[in-house]
Point group: C2
Chain length 361, copies 2
Amino acid sequence: MQPLCRDHPQPQSFDRVLSSMCTRPHPDAVAAATEFLTTNPGDPMTYQSIAKIESKAVNLLADIVGEPTATGYITSGGTESNIQAVHAARNRSATKTPNIVAPESLHFSFNKAATVLNVELRTVPTDEDHRADLTAVENAVDEDTVLVVGVAGSTAYGRVDPIPELTDIAHRVDAVMHVDAAWGGFVLPFTDHAWSFAAGIDSLTIDPHKFGQATIPAGGLLVRDPSLLDELAIETPYLESPTQATLTGTRSGAGVAGALAAMEALWPHGYKETYERTMYLAERLETELSTRGFETVTPHLPLVAADIPRELFTALRSEGWRIATTADGTLRIVCMPHVTQSLCESFLSDLDRLRRAGNSA
Amino acid sequence: MQPLCRDHPQPQSFDRVLSSMCTRPHPDAVAAATEFLTTNPGDPMTYQSIAKIESKAVNLLADIVGEPTATGYITSGGTESNIQAVHAARNRSATKTPNIVAPESLHFSFNKAATVLNVELRTVPTDEDHRADLTAVENAVDEDTVLVVGVAGSTAYGRVDPIPELTDIAHRVDAVMHVDAAWGGFVLPFTDHAWSFAAGIDSLTIDPHKFGQATIPAGGLLVRDPSLLDELAIETPYLESPTQATLTGTRSGAGVAGALAAMEALWPHGYKETYERTMYLAERLETELSTRGFETVTPHLPLVAADIPRELFTALRSEGWRIATTADGTLRIVCMPHVTQSLCESFLSDLDRLRRAGNSA
């Protein structure tokens, strides 16, 4: 057995990765993923073990989001979850001209969903705190709106939208209220935000392979009412089971097993510790960047943004920092579990040095 | 580190699995997948090693299908490949009422594609040899046809459609000619069938995680002309790369690395040996089943079908044989690499015993 790395580049470590919403998976997840690497939950009658494991994973996910009777499945990732949520909502409605309404802070997977599903995407502005502007959402919905998106942990600024109010707006026009908690879902249980089924929502995206610390691929889609998932069922004549609600066919048992293992290892105490530690880091970073004179966006979840000059951003990048900006060019740092105090200190130290070098140039 | 299996069902082996189009992955694929378990090619600027590996995997896939300049990507599986092919074809066309034409032997992923993408799916009958009926396809296409499907290794009977003739029909109406070789792609290079870009086609599905003996998830989508893939590009503002053509977002680097490792280990000699051995088994099985008086469908590729009574099928199932039927109830056995001579003999022995027991009941 020749290891791949003999002739090929090795996977890089998570050192200096401040841009990713994914992280180093928990060792139990790695072990479980490896053990179930050759299984396919897309064929549950043939691969019965992994089918049982997926049930357990979905049930545990339901507990984590505070709705033990929620159903769903482990998706290939948040993108599939969001596409399938829009898909189900579209199929459920009779309108021939469906639209979905989302704040401009939405993840680009909704652009994919709208394009693929032939659904009009209406994005509305966010307010000065980067949360959905309720009046704008109210004005954008109509009788053809099939789904309203609320983000719980937005990609750019880690904001949580006013979910209960958005739910009211959605339900008033008989639209599905869908929350995208792909990133936020595993930290939000430890906050006071209203973000999940208790707020009245209908469907939820939550990704084990982000803050859940599972292996890729493991997203999650949960619904309050199983009939919403039924909208997705496609007949599968040659498989031993009659239908499937997934967007993929053959799919990764490794991801499903890794998701269950991570959640079993970390819920609730490990996730709570993660939240507290990474939130603290984000708040410390904000203080440090603000003290240095940069305009910052106060973290609500473990993500901090700061307006640093383009040249400084580029200089940091060329030193090997994997960093990213929001669409308008603001540096955005995601404090995932692999981000440590010393990594942050190292980052600030390099920032200071490059800034001085830039100023004296 | 607690292994998952401590409290959970172990993954079953491939013993007695005669229904699956997936198989035991090559050990090199397992090693590579494990090594790259924590990578995400959906974020190529952050995860640069796996991005390079994906390039190599696509190039090798292009060699295998005989079109070294073909481009594409490693998908989550054949379902995504087929959805994205239809997606690109739909986006490329100006028609507001797009349709796709496919033989009734199509894989159900095209039903998913049509539903999701709001495209009319026109299925046409197959001929007495279970291949696309050219006259019927000819009659079904029109100026709104955006894509014609040819199957190269059909799900039920392992047939290869008349690809060059279908290509002519497709191109006459300016439709994309797409071949679904998800299952057949890694055995067809060793046959005389015309199935790939040399026949004039535009896009191709070929799955490393089927006969390619890679780990799940690893499908493949290849196109002759890169502009077809450009139809899929969605902007990705917060990632360090500007667009992506995939249906998923965050996705499995393990699958990509496993695909490259499997192909490097097995192309061409290992795949050739696999084809010869499994083809021989399928032919032997046909002889054995035919001798026993069952009506059989002669294998063209390593898949054999036989009309056995429903009760015998059920009895075999309850003895642990993972078997499946076609939509019309015909037993269909897929001779994947994990299927051995002795497994076949064991199957026939059980079949004989249960048949005798059934007859004397």
